[in-house]
Amino acid sequence: MEITEQKKGSVVLLVLTGRLDAGTAGRLEERLVSLIDAGSRSFVLDFMHLDYISSAGLRVLLMAAKKLKGLNGRIVLSSLKAHIREVFDIAGFSAIFPTYDQQDAAVGSFQ
């Protein structure tokens, strides 16, 4: 999995490419924790190039969302492929994470 990072004003945009499984989730966890520790509070995770997610990936998202909730921050997601959306639905995560079809709308939701 690759993670590319951009700043959009106060929003941190992370574009994930490849597979978010138990072998790669630790890298996302480290990145999110270090950004949160450095003061970032608004996150967009773009899943347009994400091909796969398992419960290990969901666990990292939940951990970060919990951490941010206590700090008045949040994570929103964009551009989920249909089969990834299905994993979110089965896990009950669709009710937890706001999702947008387009990255721009996800970033704009923080304005």
């Binding site: 499984d21 138990a22 398992s54 666990r59 939940l62 089965i90 896990a91 937890i96």
Partner: protein, 139 residues
């Protein structure tokens, strides 16, 4: 074209990519529906992740064997490991209605197995764990 394939995996999380590739290429070779292949890839990943993460108390290399087979109207996946006895089906189901703050982290892998597979069986045989997952193919 073989109706069964066997993939030998090491107990390293980096092997999960090979798990995904094996299920996908098996699905392509047999022209299986994408939804079935994706569901099986996820469930096999969750089982293998559990084995690699929790089945071994030592740091040694262990072999985990994945078998995929196509039967009449049904796809089966078997995961065999020589770790300590562990039946993932014993885990309690997660409460999906809980709010974000109350929700425990984890427990979702088994939930995926119960939701996405048509049958899951655990057996302990000759010092090995054997987990068999079955998925019916759409008619």
């Amino acid at each position: 074209m073989s109706q069964t394939i066997e993939v030998r995996l090491r107990n390293r999380l980096s092997e999960l990519e090979r798990v995904g590739e094996a299920v996908e290429s098996f699905g392509e070779a047999h022209r299986l529906p994408g939804k079935v292949v994706q569901a099986l890839a996820l469930c096999v990943d969750e089982v293998v992740t559990n084995v690699i993460s929790y089945a071994y108390d030592d740091q040694a290399d262990h072999q985990i064997t994945l078998r995929l087979s196509l039967g009449t109207g049904e796809l089966a996946a078997e995961v065999e490991d020589d770790g300590k006895p562990f039946n993932p089906l014993d885990a309690p189901p997660p409460d999906l209605t809980q709010s974000l703050e109350d929700r425990p982290i984890g427990g979702l892998g088994v939930h995926f197995l119960r939701t996405l597979m048509d049958g899951v069986e655990y057996r302990r045989e000759q010092g090995k764990n054997l987990l068999v997952m079955k998925k019916k193919l759409p008619v």
